[in-house]
């Protein structure tokens, strides 16, 4: 029987990686749960309110995006728009070339992962260094992040020590403190020689044009302290109406992502240096990136655009915990990725149409999502879409026979009676792959088809109950 890719991946994933992913995600889930419980009587109500704010913003996105642009422009920032990933990369290159810049430092940003900015810049002869520790390790290893908040959740300290040794950052030493100090030292030089700092944004407020950036390491701040040019790549959906909305969103983001009341550094930027504030970069560019977000907005899965990239759904997801991130073969893993990745794939939808299947639909993702995205519903809609588009789904039984049985009570009842034959058949040798997949690790209970119905009938005379 053909296999689901993620299921095969799980079977082949080294147990050490699986254990590391499970321990880390379970611990973060627990911290999140504790803190929200300690701090809020009704954290569920807050999630729903935050979801409504984000949904409202999306449904008036043209208004808020235009307003954000206006606010930023009024404060001296230059706003650009990019329809595709290629457009976005070109815009970045254009800005850098105009300023004569060949070295940049980056802080962690999912949208730059999505548009493969580092590869593009490298091809243009521009050195681009990831400054987040995890992202830097991913970069030197030519690897991909496996978690949206913890990019190297799949790596051990030994892996990292070997990479550092290879890159000439000192002899093999797998002490996490030493690794961090070496990165600190190396990155210092890079920050100081970079002409531009490239960042993403967690939010952009429409009324004041503030880009909000959160990090624990302080790297985004460092990218913007010595550089002459700041370029921010921002998905068009990141807008929120006002500063006041941030009080809810920031309070939920830190708690949901890492179990912190607030992330260590929360930075609000709304413009380049001014005559009376001569500190920061001389130029600030904001590139609003579509890259199929407007297609998602037009689809019946638009709620996924509420996402604030906290990673809580990954941490709680039992499938992600087994599979880790690479199994999802895309920038966004876990439940959010299972919805977003196939949608962002455009005409390559079919190649990722198996992702929405990789869920028991347990709904834990929705329960933890700080913006209350109904992820299971969206997974189901995408499954329906894949079926309509005739994407094969290995291991999934065809349901035509079931539909026939389920809509014909007489056939259903006789099936119930004849099902008893199952107890006398060598089930594990029957050529039914679905049955085989069940029986390999599980037994089936004894067949009792029709027993309840006859019991129910036998009581009719007694109590006068019964139906049609």
């Amino acid at each position: 029987m053909a296999k689901q890719l993620i299921d095969t991946y799980v079977a082949e994933l080294p147990p050490t990686v699986q254990k590391a992913v499970h321990q880390s995600t379970a611990a973060t889930t627990e911290k999140r749960y504790q803190l929200l419980g300690d701090d809020y009587a009704d954290s569920d109500g807050l999630r729903k309110l935050a979801g409504a704010i984000r949904q409202h913003t999306l449904e008036y996105l043209d208004t808020y995006l235009a307003q954000a642009e206006e606010s930023l422009t009024a404060r001296g920032a230059k706003v650009h728009y990019a329809v595709t990933a290629e457009d976005a990369c070109q815009a970045v290159t254009g800005i850098l070339q105009a300023a004569g810049i060949t070295k940049v430092v980056k802080s962690k940003s999912m949208v730059t992962e999505e548009i493969h900015l580092n590869d593009y810049l490298a091809n243009q002869g521009i050195e681009s260094i990831e400054s987040d520790l995890g992202e830097y390790i991913v970069q030197i290893d030519g690897d991909h992040p496996s978690h949206i908040v913890r990019p190297i959740i799949h790596k051990t300290r030994g892996d990292i020590a070997r990479s550092f040794e290879r890159e000439g950052l000192g002899d093999y030493n797998d002490d996490p403190e030493t690794i961090t100090r070496r990165a600190r030292k190396f990155m210092r030089g890079k920050y100081l020689e970079a002409g531009a700092g490239i960042t993403g944004a967690n939010f952009v407020t429409a009324d004041t044009g503030r880009l909000v950036l959160v990090t624990n390491e302080g790297n985004s701040r460092f990218c913007l302290a010595p550089a002459k040019v700041h370029i921010a790549l921002v998905g068009i959906e990141k807008v929120v109406p006002s500063d006041a909305d941030l009080s809810l969103l920031l309070n939920l983001l830190g708690r949901s992502a890492t179990g912190q009341q607030l992330t260590v550094y929360t930075e609000f930027i709304n413009g380049p240096r001014r005559a009376d504030r001569p500190s920061g970069p001389e130029q600030m560019h904001v590139i609003f990136v579509d890259n199929r977000r407007t297609e998602v907005l037009a689809s019946d899965c638009k709620e996924i655009l509420r996402c604030i990239r906290c990673g809580a759904c990954l941490n709680v997801c039992p499938v992600y915990r087994q599979a880790s991130g690479h199994a999802y073969r895309s920038v966004y893993p876990g439940p959010v990725g299972a919805v977003l990745s196939p949608l962002l794939a455009g005409d390559k939808f079919k190649e990722l149409a198996d992702l929405p299947k990789a869920s028991s639909l347990c709904g834990a993702c929705n329960e933890v999502c700080p913006v209350d995205i109904p992820i299971p519903d969206l997974l189901l809609r995408l499954r329906n879409r894949a079926h309509q588009e005739h994407v094969p789904s290995p291991g999934t039984p065809p349901m035509a026979g079931f539909a026939l049985l389920g809509s014909h009570p007489l056939i259903w009842r006789s099936a119930m009676t004849f099902g008893a034959a199952k107890d006398y058949l060598p089930l594990d040798r029957l050529p039914v792959p679905y049955l085989g997949a069940w029986l390999k690790t599980r037994t089936l209970p004894k067949w009792r088809g029709g027993k309840f119905r006859s019991w129910m009938k036998s009581r009719h005379g007694r109590n006068g109950g019964g139906g049609k």
Binding site: L46, E59, E177, Y191, D243, S247, D290
Partner: protein, 201 residues
């Protein structure tokens, strides 16, 4: 069509078929305040408690701060002019420099900068380009001490957001720089300060 026009047209056509749109929900001020905040009466005490909990060292007086600093044996301490009064006692006891530039990133291991404010609820220090014109000074040294005036402490995150100054760069600092990227082990002092302090005046 320009990229801008293409995107706005796509957004409009995506939203056009919606039979109705989600109204803007009312977000009451303080809706996401921690529930225990109501029981706290003293902003300063709360700030100290919360800041300490996230790993920020708090000093209630400049003599306390000096005593601690002296033990650390700093190589060179940056103290800008405007903090001269606060740190007068430091002169002659530790080596003080009055200006900060990027060439000194490796030499200055301790810096004092004035803060623009603080948040009691979260133990956060607020810096702006106005209060800390040299961004690197608050970031590059291993030890950063923000000097916070007690009357600038906001009660809650929501209060701080409602009173955002007009400044191109506002940064909230809630503890020392940290990472848990390597096997989930917490390490402080990744890019920013490994020791974050706060001197209350």
């Amino acid at each position: 069509m320009t990229a801008r026009e293409t995107i706005f047209a796509a957004i409009k056509s995506a939203l056009a078929p919606l039979p109705e749109r989600e109204p803007r929900p009312a977000v009451a001020h303080g809706v996401a305040d921690a529930q225990w905040l109501a029981d706290e009466t003293d902003n300063v005490a709360l700030f100290v408690q919360r800041a300490t909990a996230v790993g920020t060292m708090c000093f209630r007086s400049s003599s306390d701060c000096l005593a601690w600093l002296f033990e650390q044996q700093p190589a060179r301490v940056f103290i800008p002019d405007e903090l001269r009064d606060v740190t007068a006692k430091f002169e002659g006891i530790v080596e003080v420099v009055r200006s900060y530039s990027r060439d000194q990133v490796d030499e200055i291991d301790t810096a004092f900068t004035p803060a623009a404010g603080a948040i009691a609820e979260s133990g956060t220090i607020i810096l702006t380009d106005e209060s800390t014109p040299d961004r690197l000074a608050a970031l590059a040294p291993w030890t950063h001490i923000a000097v916070v005036r007690k009357d600038t402490i906001h009660r809650s995150v929501a209060d701080a957001l409602a009173a955002m100054p007009d400044d191109p760069n506002i940064i909230w600092v809630t503890g020392p720089s940290k990472t848990a990227d390597v096997e989930g082990i917490l390490i402080q002092g990744v890019h920013g300060p490994g020791v974050q302090g706060c001197l209350l005046i």
